[in-house]
């Protein structure tokens, strides 16, 4: 009984927090400088990629240290589609999603044989291979090799009275909200429960008629598609892609963002994104020479204070639901 009222209470708090966050995020781009708007856009872009990683790791229990590769693939797909084929930038988002879904799905097939840290290692190899592949001479004509590809900054459509930065911020916000909604829907559905069942007890899941290989590859593809959309948005917003923007540190950063936000807690993705964008800046602000070490210290302190990420902390305070059940029931 009390569990029910408590979860109804925390659901109401979550709803208020959601409305307040939405109002704030709509007002923000008009209250801060263009550069900060650009940074906040990047926070949301990383949050989208982390959201995808969370579907993979938090929900289905598979690990990836290679989502930077899918991010890069999405970014390059968008850049090449705009630069070489004149595609409208808005259409590059579904394009990147489809390409990355397919590649993620195909990568997921051999990955089925791998569990836990072995899967993490295989995905890490993918991350390591990305920059050299992008510099590879056969694809140079499209990828521009080391120089990368430059893009023009898109202006707001319909003559909207917005700066370019504000427009891209709002575009990213809308895409991010839609993808968050999709992730929530999945989590609270038959599909989501099947994925959680696989994580909780794969043998029992099989006996319930859940097709493990199909669901594991499916979620790998969906997760990669999220990273791909984030990558495409990043190419559009940064107006530039180059191999070294997608070195393995990006994959690590996404994983760190996932852990900081809270594995299994979807809104944590935003905090993870903020950590990726701001933690290095803060570290550099304190001491230029020691920024790397300070970044590590900030990370250690955060993990110490919130061993289960921000989501875990909120859960302890009774303000968020557990990561395991998709919904209050």
């Amino acid at each position: 009984m009390s569990a029910v009222t408590q979860s109804a209470g925390s659901a109401r708090i979550a709803a208020y927090a959601g409305v307040a966050a939405l109002a704030l995020s709509l007002a923000l781009p008009f209250a801060v400088s263009g550069f900060v708007v650009f940074q906040l856009t990047q926070v949301m872009i990383f949050a989208i990629a982390i959201l995808g990683l969370n579907l993979l790791t938090g929900i289905s229990g598979q690990f990836s240290l290679g989502h930077g590769a899918f991010f890069a693939l999405g970014a390059y797909a968008a850049a090449i589609a705009i630069d070489s084929f004149g595609l409208h930038y808005g259409l590059t988002l579904p394009l990147a999603a489809m390409i990355c879904f397919l590649v993620g799905f195909l990568f997921g097939l051999p990955a089925l044989r791998l569990e836990g840290i072995y899967l993490a290692l295989a995905t890490f190899a993918l991350a390591l291979a990305t920059p050299p592949l992008l510099k590879f001479s056969l694809v140079e004509g499209w990828t521009g090799s080391v120089q990368g590809v430059f893009l023009a900054k898109p202006s707001p459509p319909f003559g909207l009275p917005l700066s370019d930065d504000q427009w891209l911020y709002l575009l990213t916000l809308v895409v991010g909200l839609a993808l968050y909604r999709v992730a929530r829907n999945l989590l609270d559905s038959r599909t989501g429960r099947a994925l959680i069942a696989i994580r909780e007890h794969p043998i029992a899941a099989g006996a319930m008629g859940i097709d493990l290989p199909a669901y594991k590859t499916l979620i790998f593809g969906i997760s990669a598609a999220y990273a791909g959309v984030a990558g495409a948005l990043s190419a559009i917003v940064v107006q530039f892609v180059a191999p070294d923007s997608f070195a393995f540190w990006l994959s690590i950063a996404l994983f760190v963002g996932l852990v900081v936000g809270g594995v299994g807690w979807l809104p944590g993705a935003l905090l993870g994104g903020a950590f990726i964008v701001f933690a290095p800046n803060i570290a550099e602000g304190i001491s230029k020479g020691l920024s790397g070490a300070l970044y590590g210290i900030i990370l250690v302190v955060l993990i110490y204070l919130m061993p289960a990420g921000a989501g875990g902390l909120l859960r302890r305070l009774g303000l968020a639901q557990g990561p395991r059940t998709g919904r209050s029931s």
Partner: protein, 265 residues
């Protein structure tokens, strides 16, 4: 004679024919054959390590026999993928509880309805009307079973937080949510006292009668097996040593010998 036997096999719900399973030289099942009719409660007994769970794992397609055939409603079970076994009407519980421990009782039972209520990931992702209808159907199935098995008071409790007998009850509800024709129960009375075992027996019988389904009951609790089984099969070292009505099996010299620890002749 042969024609009659074939005919019997075609109409049997389950037909196990000369099945053998070996693990690195150990023969866990050896030349096992039996049929099960619809609506039958078939007791499966035998000393520890006699192959009961191994048989269940073959029926779930977790193990593939080295030889032999298994048919379910006339279909070749060994040609199925694991995930299609439930769709062919085989539901089960596990000897060592295999509930989704971190999930609520309700979610566990909902997952049982996974294969029974179809769906598509795109419909789920976009919460299309189709997905909402599926969700309602799943909830209706789960809630009815939770009522039937008296789990209402713990519906939102994580299964891992419940005592073992209740976890087994959740597994039973989850298995029933798959809508089985054949229900495999692996030691459902483990950890129950005498009264609870009697109550469980009545529950299994009523489940079976209400649905007209068959139950294959692997159990060490002789009182339970002998009171509710229509027929009992006895395994010893992977071989069937007796097959008949409870009263006859109980008095079979070979069965008594197997249980007294002697090697079956």
């Amino acid at each position: 004679m042969a024609a009659a036997a074939d005919n019997g096999k075609a109409t049997a719900l389950l037909s196990v024919d000369d099945v053998a399973v070996t693990f690195g030289g150990i023969s866990a099942l050896n030349g096992l054959s039996f049929d099960m009719q619809r609506g039958e409660i078939l007791g499966l007994i035998g000393p520890n390590g006699s192959g009961k769970t191994t048989l269940f794992n073959c029926l779930s397609r977790f193990y593939t026999p080295s030889s032999g055939q298994i048919r379910i409603s006339g279909r070749d079970l060994l040609g199925l993928r694991i995930s299609n076994v439930a769709r062919c009407g085989v539901g089960r519980t596990f000897q060592n509880v295999a509930a989704f421990a971190g999930l609520s009782v309700l979610d566990n039972v909902r997952i049982g309805a996974h294969a029974r209520v179809g769906g598509h990931v795109i419909a789920d992702a976009l919460r299309l009307p189709r997905a909402r209808r599926a969700e309602q159907a799943i909830n209706a199935i789960a809630e009815a079973l939770i009522d039937e098995l008296a789990l209402g008071d713990v519906a939102s409790t994580p299964v891992g937080a419940l005592p073992l007998p209740r976890q087994k009850r959740v597994e039973l509800a989850r298995a029933l949510a798959t809508d089985p024709q054949l229900l495999l129960l692996d030691e459902p009375a483990g950890g129950l006292n005498h009264e609870e075992a009697v109550e469980l027996g009545a529950l299994i019988q009523s489940i079976c009668d209400a649905r007209g389904i068959s139950v294959l009951l692997a159990e060490h609790h002789m009182g339970l097996v002998m009171s509710i089984s229509d027929r009992v099969i006895v395994l010893s070292f992977g071989r069937k040593i007796a097959d008949g009505p409870p009263a006859a099996v109980q008095n079979d010299a070979r069965v008594i010998e197997a249980y007294l620890g002697g090697r079956a002749a």
